[in-house]
């Protein structure tokens, strides 16, 4: 119980944990999907406080980590072109591509800029009519409404020099892919609270019913996570498989309808390759026909290059939850947040970075848990 005193309400946390202790009669494996939740779980040591047999697997919910290598390589190729201003969220700059990263392009004189919002990239296009501004539109359902609005804004301003390199991914198809994997061990999911703030949770209902798997929409503060775990285990123990909402403070069943409508207008479903996981049908978004004019992939055709992952990095297994960062030979030595070899070490939301920040040592392995 070494971390418990750091909780904002240790009494409540203790009460929830002792309820879990008395509820859990069998081993269960839960997956949290959101990288922010992974960070809280690892940093607060929640996974280490759980009763014996209740295991947390860290899911693929880090947008930086799952952006396919091919897209990172494309971004690097486009950013290296003359006359291009390439804009991205900060953490994408250090993601290793096959032969370097966007920061390297910047160091070689490329005009690579960090923006806080995609609307800043639209403003750059307005201010630089003689340059091509390209925005790297990555992320889950949480960033999609923002990126969709930026495209709409550029279209309504008639900007011919603004395009987006779209690499959006969606959570429900990833959950289905994990459940379909022959070696799947996950018996319940904690769904990402802020993804559901946008999308609601109706999409999860058929999954919970078809796979008989409890899905609990959960926030990302320590008590939220413990409560989400308790709710999921209660369902498992009583044979229920429903979608429940722990994060009632911010999430409603149908989400944010305005944001959803804008996503539907600007984007359309596409198959998407997830870094380390592979292709998942209908798991991504691309621009819809009406907005194709703003597609950076058509505007800047890039030869499909052979992609090359680091040989030591086991990011794929980490994203699928079959290995832990501490199983990786490079963890904490050749690979650190300052010098990441793989994507999960780059962003604070990545599992390797979360483990490293929390000071997790090399000794823990899945078998030992």
């Amino acid at each position: 119980m070494k971390y418990l005193d750091e909780y904002r309400d240790p009494v409540l946390a203790r009460r929830l944990l002792s309820e879990l202790e008395s509820t859990a009669t069998r081993p269960w494996t839960l997956m949290e999907v959101c990288g922010g939740q992974t960070h809280t779980i690892v940093r607060q040591g929640i996974d280490e406080l759980l009763p014996h047999g209740i295991r947390m697997i860290h899911g693929p919910g880090c947008p930086v980590c799952v952006t396919p290598l091919e897209m990172v390589d494309k971004a690097i190729a486009i950013a290296s072109r003359d006359g291009v201003i390439f804009c991205s969220y900060g953490d994408m700059l250090r993601v290793p591509g096959s032969g370097g990263d966007l920061l390297g392009v910047k160091a070689r004189g490329g005009d690579v800029r960090v923006v806080y919002t995609p609307l800043d990239a639209v403003s750059l296009a307005v201010a630089n009519p003689d340059r091509q501004v390209v925005f790297f539109a990555v992320g889950f359902e949480t960033t999609a409404p923002a990126n969709a609005m930026a495209v709409k804004q550029a279209a309504s301003l008639g900007l011919d020099n603004f395009s987006v390199l779209v690499s959006h991914v969606l959570v429900p198809p990833a959950i289905t892919a994990i459940l379909d994997a022959p070696d799947n061990e996950v018996t319940a999911f904690l769904a990402a609270g802020h993804v559901c703030a946008v999308m609601g949770w109706t999409q999860y209902e058929p999954i919970a019913a078809a796979y008989r798997v409890p899905i609990v929409v959960t926030g990302f503060e320590p008590l939220d996570l413990i409560e989400g775990i308790v709710m999921a285990v209660r369902q498992l123990e009583t044979g229920r498989a429903e979608v429940e909402n722990q994060y009632v403070r911010a999430v409603r069943r149908t989400g944010n309808s305005r944001a959803r409508d804008t996503i539907d207008e600007v984007f359309t479903l596409t198959d998407r390759t997830w870094r380390g996981i592979g292709e998942i049908a209908h798991s991504g978004l691309r621009l819809s026909e009406a907005y194709r004019h703003h597609d950076a992939e058509t505007r800047f055709p890039v030869e499909r290059e052979a992609t090359r992952e680091s040989e030591v990095c086991i990011a794929g297994e980490i994203l699928r939850g079959t290995r832990l960062p501490t199983d990786c030979l490079a963890y904490g030595t050749a690979c650190t947040p300052r010098h990441p070899l793989g994507a999960p070490m780059v962003s604070a939301e990545g599992t390797c970075a979360a483990f490293h920040t929390a000071g997790r040592g090399r000794q823990a392995t899945l078998e030992e848990q």
Binding site: T117, L119, P145, H194, A250, N256
Partner: protein, 83 residues
């Protein structure tokens, strides 16, 4: 980039898209309020990459901020104050 940061709307501008200024614990940033048409000055909203996507109450905002502060560089990264 996916975390979402709660802040308080301190001013709403006219125009499309609907924009406003949001105070994140002392740091002020422009944010798009198009997706929270009901939110007004004084309300707390969760902001992702410059867009408010959900209204929350003040107590929740404070709790969420405390979590985000515990994640190294998260606030700076989310608000784009990193180099």
């Amino acid at each position: 980039m996916c975390l979402g940061i709660p802040g308080r709307i301190v001013d709403v501008a006219q125009g499309r898209p609907r924009m406003g200024t949001v105070d994140f614990d002392g740091l002020r940033r422009e944010a798009c309020l198009e997706y929270v048409p009901e939110a007004e000055t004084g309300d707390y909203v969760i902001v992702h990459v410059g867009f408010a996507i959900s209204r929350v109450d003040e107590a929740e905002a404070a709790r969420t901020l405390a979590v985000i502060r515990a994640i190294p560089d998260a606030l700076a990264t989310e608000l784009g104050t990193e180099p």
